[in-house]
Every structure is written in structure tokens, then in C-alpha cells.
């Protein structure tokens, strides 16, 4: 997303949802006690801002009714910094779980939302996070139906941790499983690789680029849903390459499907800034975490059509075919380098640590 557009959106959000007048400006242990302060916090606007029929019942949980088979997923978010170029932990937590559901071939419907707050978080920061959650949910047409808020002592957390769980209805044409993948299938990535991870790392390391690098976090469900509408069972596999990056997802796929995977380095879509930052930081973009892209493995015959459809959308405008599923070298991912040499692409071991020189 363009920086200007993102800023405009943020200003619009703040104007639409100004923080209410409160008699406290930082969150303390008492706000997680379950007593009066907790009620003050929740009634200060948390319930208002996420308002819906389910939350309004103030029950211990939510009663839900769904027509179709259900997908269920959960994810926790511990990102540092909490506010980063292109977003914050709130919308990341919503999009993260929506995307996990989308990768199951499901249309997201309901979310749970839990906060673990380190005392000392300002109410303004919490409010900004809530506002971005509200907008992310509205845009995705999902509802937060239950939740929890805990506060821990200073030093026992890192500002705020967020957990979301989500329920979605499985698309009637979806048949997503590594077991459906066959030799000849094409591997498509929906956009530039490593953008989110490098944006976060460059903030942490204080790197400055000519233009600011922003996280691409977004809700991928509409894009996936569209592919399923159009191509149904010919979409064999979906996965969002978050932690461990593209290399890890493809290794998982190779092991689960029993097939080999051939990748081509030259086809991996990378923005120039990300490529430069990875060179400087000594990181391999294939292992860097992503938030705004997904990998799909599709029947060979529809691959080009899928790419056309993706490229016509904002989310998929940089979609590229990066490789092929193969009968050769079962369970291994083999990368053809930019100069034509071939080598194994392994799973990430531990944390990717910057190199010395």
C-alpha cells in the first residue's frame, strides 16, 4: 500500500473513533483484576468499539450457528515493535488468523480476541490498536464474538500480546490438502516475498531507505475466495509463508506430499528495497517472515489463468509462478540459482542470525 494512502487511512480512523475521555491514561495491574477497573476499561469503549450482537450479550462465551463445515484456527502475536510501518499488532492479529482460515479454504466469520497487556501501556496506544482491529474486522466482514484481557507486571510482557482464534465456513468448492498435490502442479506466490519481515527488521535495526518500507499485512481471504470460486478443486494447496518464510512452507509441502519441488531463484518476486536490505543484513529472503502473501499450488493447466486473475487484483498484482512440483528428488526442495547452479533449499534452523561480514 502507498505510504500516503496508509497515512490517510490512519487519520480517517482516528477521526472516526476518537478516544473517549477517561480518568486514567495508562493501563495498570488493576485493569486486569476483574474488578471495577477492569469494568472501567472494558466499558470505556472496548465493548463499544467492537460492538455487535454477540458481544452485547456480555456472556462468558458466544453462541454461534453455521451452515457449512467449519475451519478453526488460532494464532498469537508478540511482535516488536507493536506499531510498525504499515500497521500495528492489532490488525496483524486480525489478518493473521483470517489468513490462516483462508489457507484452509474457509471464509472467516467469527474471531475471539485476547490481550495480555504489560502494565504501563498507554490507553492511547491500546485505543489505537483497538481502532485498527475494528477496521480490519469491518473490512473483512468478521465479528469479534468473545475475548479476554489480562494485565501482567512490568517486565513480564512486551507492551502487549494479542491472541486471536477464528472460525470460518469452508468454501463449498475447497479441497485443500498437501495430499492433493501431484507432479506437474505449479507453485505460485501471490506477491513480493519478505516485505513484512524486512520492514520490521529495518525498524529494529534503524535502517533507513530512500522510501519507507512498509509491512504488507492484509486480509488474504477475499483473494483466496475468488480463486476458489473460479477454480475450485484445481487449487490443490494454500499456505501463507509466515514464520520461516517461503523456504519453510515449501519444505513442509515437499515432506507432506512426498514430491520434490523445483524452484527458480530468478523467478522469486522481490522488491528492490527488500533485496537490498537482505543483502545488507545478510538475510536470505526465502527465510524471512511474510504477512501479506500466500503460496498456492495449482493444477498445471490453470496456472497461467490463476496468475492472470491474481495480477488483476491489488493483493496479487506481483503474483508469479516460482516453481513446479516434481517426481524427482522426493521430499526435497531444489533451487536453481540465478546463474543456473542447483542446490538444496533446506528448512530454517533456529533463528536467522545476521552474518558477521
Amino acid at each position: 500500500m502507498e505510504v500516503k494512502e496508509a497515512n490517510n487511512r490512519k487519520i480517517k480512523m482516528q477521526l472516526q473513533c476518537p478516544m473517549p475521555q477517561l480518568d486514567f491514561d495508562i493501563i495498570t495491574l488493576g485493569h486486569g483484576s476483574g474488578g471495577t477497573l477492569t469494568h472501567n476499561l472494558l466499558n470505556s469503549g472496548v465493548f463499544d468499539i467492537l460492538k455487535n450482537d454477540y458481544l452485547d450479550q456480555h456472556h462468558d462465551g458466544a453462541f454461534l450457528q453455521l451452515k457449512n463445515p467449519v475451519a478453526f484456527s488460532t494464532d498469537s502475536f508478540v511482535i516488536t515493535p507493536v506499531f510498525f510501518p504499515g500497521g500495528n499488532i492489532g490488525e496483524l492479529a486480525v489478518n493473521g488468523t483470517l489468513n490462516d482460515l483462508a489457507m484452509c479454504g474457509a471464509v472467516p466469520r467469527y474471531l475471539s480476541l485476547s490481550f495480555i497487556i504489560e502494565e504501563g501501556l498507554t490507553m492511547q496506544e491500546f485505543w489505537d490498536i483497538l481502532v485498527s482491529i475494528k477496521f480490519a474486522c469491518e473490512e473483512a466482514n468478521v465479528k469479534v464474538v468473545t475475548g479476554d484481557t489480562k494485565v501482567v507486571e512490568r517486565g513480564k510482557g512486551d507492551k502487549i500480546f494479542v491472541n486471536t482464534s477464528g472460525i470460518g465456513e469452508v468454501h463449498s468448492k475447497a479441497k485443500i490438502a498437501a495430499a492433493n498435490v501431484i507432479a506437474g502442479d505449479k507453485i505460485i506466490v501471490s506477491g513480493h516475498v519478505a516485505t513484512h519481515g524486512v520492514a520490521i527488521m529495518s525498524v529494529r535495526e534503524g535502517l533507513v531507505f530512500e522510501t519507507q518500507l512498509e509491512s504488507d499485512t492484509c486480509n488474504l481471504a477475499p483473494s483466496v475466495n475468488n480463486l476458489l470460486d473460479l477454480f475450485g478443486e484445481d487449487i490443490h494447496f494454500l499456505r501463507d509463508p509466515t514464520r520461516g518464510g517461503v523456504a519453510t512452507v515449501l519444505n513442509e509441502l515437499a515432506k507432506e506430499s512426498g514430491f520434490g519441488i523445483d524452484l527458480s531463484q530468478n523467478l522469486i518476486p522481490l522488491s528492490e528495497q527488500v533485496e537490498g536490505a537482505c543483502e545488507m543484513l545478510g538475510l536470505d529472503p526465502l527465510y524471512v517472515a511474510n504477512e501479506g502473501i500466500y503460496i498456492t499450488v495449482v493444477k498445471e493447466q490453470i496456472a497461467e489463468e490463476v496468475i492472470k486473475v491474481l495480477q488483476a487484483s491489488e493483493v496479487g498484482k506481483n503474483a508469479t509462478m516460482i516453481g513446479t512440483v516434481s517426481k524427482e528428488h522426493p521430499k526435497q526442495v531444489i533451487l536453481t540459482s540465478s546463474i543456473g547452479g542447483r542446490r538444496m533449499l533446506n528448512m530454517l534452523t533456529g533463528e536467522q542470525l545476521p552474518r558477521i561480514c
Binding site: E272, G282, H329, I339, G341, R342, R355, I356, C357
Partner: protein
């Protein structure tokens, strides 16, 4: 990306490979000195693209790999003290000491921080006057200037709470040690481009003369490496031995003089223990007596037990080019990046880790077909 894509060009690579194939008539064993070069050779799949006459052996040029265990133990001991912030380059963290790594010490509560520059550590020392900030100053001649600069800066700022554990090693003495080993198989070197960027080329002329061995200062991109290999092979085939500079776009004959001055201001040359290779005379840098206040090994009294190395690890033979990672019985079984028995399995520039990540049975099969 400008200045990179040109050096990763497949057409040019094919031309160089073709030229190497035309030139080579006999088997040759060439050592690339630097771990960064090993990394590129394997990452770009170059090893199996080379004609079978050429054997690349991987040199000792991974600075974290050759950092002696007792210094890692010392860093871990200091990191565990309450008032210490231990700072280090990222890939030093996973290297096992006698009992654990800095990463494990961090998990156990030690304040260990990954930095990109020692000058960030000086800043940390300014910001935390009640803490002792120690920088684990690891590296070859490449990182020595910045580490020296951090001491100069701390000295100018009058900081009393900044010190370094200097673990600097020098490349030319290690090359000499390898060449004077009667078992050596190395017939030519690709010298480390980054090191020469700082130090220039002058140190290599005497080595070329004394051991009658071709040395080509080489860069790190695939085209650099292929060009360097071609230059070396041309010399070998003609029974020549010269110092040549493939990496002339970066390396100047005299190197970076202000950087050299920073090094000589702070450090003096000393004998140095290389992990897996024993003591090499005059092969390290230590902080001069004048700056002893900034030398963590003198500033803090660290009670150290005897260091322990894994007895089955063949890191030494690998770093001397006598063995390859795949020759080790522990490779990929008992020894993996997640559980390294020796240092070359740790850093992404260590040859064992490089092989583990990038090399597989297909590479071996393809090599056989060439």
C-alpha cells in the same frame, strides 16, 4: 540491483565456465580462503558446475568458527554477571563453548545483544553508565577497524564502562601455516577480497614467492568467483605463480590506510590460538597495553575451567582443506546446525553449515556426471 545483478549474470557465468573448461587440462586443488566465498560457491551451485579437474577446498576464513573456546567461555561467564551487557555479532551467538553457547546463556537470563556495529555498543555504554558493556570483537582484518574505532571513540568519550574481548585473527599467517603443513593439498588460493579491501595486497607477494603458489584476490559474487578460479587455473596451467587482483573494483593495492591506522593504534600482533588449528604464530590481534582498560580479558578476572572440545569433531582437518564436511561421520546425524558439535556447523559461513543447508545428494550425483 546495480553492482550485484551484473555479477550474478547467467550468460556471463556460462562464458566463464566454458573458458575454465577450455583452459584446464590437469587436476588442481584450489582453496577459497573466506567463508563468504564458500557460502557463495555452494549457494549458487557453482561447485558442481565446475569441471571435475577442479577441487575447491574450503579455507579457515570463518571468523566465528576459529574463535577459541576459552574466549567463548569467557564471554559467557561475563554475560552472566548481573551488571554486564554482552554485545556480539549475530552469528557468534550459536557457537558452542565448552558447555553452552551465548544463545543458551541468553535464554537463561544473560543480557546478550546482537549488534551490527561495535559503535552501537559504545552508544549502549553511554546510555547505561551503571552497566559494563562488553563487545565480543570477533573477526579477521575486516572487522578490526570498526572494533578499533569503538575503543578510540570510547576513549575519547572518557567511558569507563566499555571494553572488548578481542578475538581477531589475521589471514596471511594462516595461509602460511597451511602451506608449511607437509600434508597440505592446496595448490593455489582465492584470497579473501574483504580482508584485502582493508589490508591491501602487499602481504601476499612474499607468500607467492616463498611457496611458489598462485594467489588471486577474489570477490564474493558468482562471477567474481568464476573469474578468480579462471585466473588461478591459467597460472597453474602455465606453471606460473603470481599475486593477482580479481576484485580490483573494491581492493586497492595499499588497502584502506585510515582503517589500517585505526587497527595499529589499538591492536598489536600476537600469537593466536585458532579453534581446530592450534596456535599460529603472529596470527592475531590483541589490545595494546596502552588501552588495557578497554580490554575485557584484562579488566575482569574470569575464573576459567579447562576448555573442552568434542573429540570426534574434525573441524581442524576441514579448515585446513584436508577433509570435506561430507567426510565426517557426524555430519547431518549427530552434528547439525541445531546441535553443532564444532564451530563450522554454526555460522552460515562455516563450511559444514553451508554444506548442511545447501548441499545434497543431487549435488554429488550431478558432480559425477560433469
Amino acid at each position: 540491483m546495480k553492482y550485484l545483478t551484473e555479477y550474478r549474470d547467467p550468460v556471463l557465468a556460462a562464458q566463464y565456465l566454458d573458458e575454465i573448461k577450455k583452459t584446464v587440462t590437469k587436476p588442481w586443488t584450489i582453496m577459497e580462503v573466506c567463508g563468504g566465498q564458500t557460502h557463495s560457491l555452494v549457494k549458487y551451485g557453482l561447485l558442481q558446475m565446475l569441471p571435475k579437474e577442479i577441487t575447491m577446498v574450503h579455507g579457515p576464513g570463518c571468523p566465528v568458527c576459529v574463535t577459541p573456546t576459552h574466549l567463548i567461555d569467557r564471554a559467557i561467564y561475563l554475560a552472566k554477571q548481573n551488571n554486564v551487557i554482552m554485545c556480539s555479532f549475530g552469528d557468534m551467538l550459536r557457537v558452542p563453548g565448552s558447555e553452552k553457547s551465548l544463545l543458551q546463556a541468553k535464554a537463561e537470563g544473560a543480557d546478550v545483544r546482537i549488534l551490527y556495529s561495535p559503535l552501537e555498543a559504545v552508544k549502549l555504554a553511554q546510555q547505561n553508565p551503571d552497566k559494563e558493556v562488553v563487545f565480543f570483537a570477533v573477526g579477521f582484518e575486516t572487522t578490526a577497524p570498526a572494533n578499533a574505532l569503538s575503543v578510540i571513540q570510547a576513549h575519547q568519550l572518557g567511558l569507563k564502562n566499555y571494553s572488548i574481548i578481542a578475538s581477531h585473527v589475521l589471514v596471511p599467517p594462516a595461509m602460511e601455516a597451511l602451506l608449511s603443513d607437509p600434508e597440505t593439498v592446496v595448490q593455489a588460493f582465492l584470497a579473501a577480497g574483504h580482508v584485502c579491501t582493508i589490508m591491501g595486497n602487499s602481504e601476499y607477494y612474499p607468500i607467492v614467492e616463498k611457496y611458489k603458489v598462485p594467489i588471486v584476490v577474489t570477490g564474493f559474487e558468482p562471477i567474481d568467483l568464476l573469474h578468480g578460479i579462471l585466473m588461478v587455473v591459467r597460472q597453474l596451467e602455465k606453471s606460473e605463480y603470481k599475486m593477482e587482483n580479481q576484485y580490483a573494483r573494491v581492493v586497492r593495492e595499499r588497502g584502506n590506510v585510515p582503517a589500517q591506522e585505526a587497527i595499529t593504534e589499538i591492536f598489536e600482533i600476537s600469537n593466536r590460538m585458532w579453534r581446530g588449528m592450534d596456535v599460529i604464530p603472529q596470527s592475531g590481534l590483541e589490545v595494546k597495553e596502552k588501552y588495557a582498560l578497554f580490554d575485557a580479558t584484562k579488566k575482569f578476572n574470569v575464573p576459567l575451567k579447562e576448555t573442552k572440545e568434542n573429540e570426534t569433531c574434525i573441524a581442524g582437518a576441514i579448515m585446513k582443506g584436508l577433509k570435506k564436511p561430507l567426510d565426517c561421520a557426524n555430519f547431518g546425524t549427530l552434528c547439525k546446525p541445531s546441535h553443532p558439535l564444532g564451530a563450522p556447523m554454526v555460522s552460515s559461513e562455516g563450511s559444514c553449515a553451508t554444506y548442511y543447508h545447501f548441499y545434497s545428494a543431487i549435488n554429488e550425483a550431478e558432480k559425477a556426471e560433469v
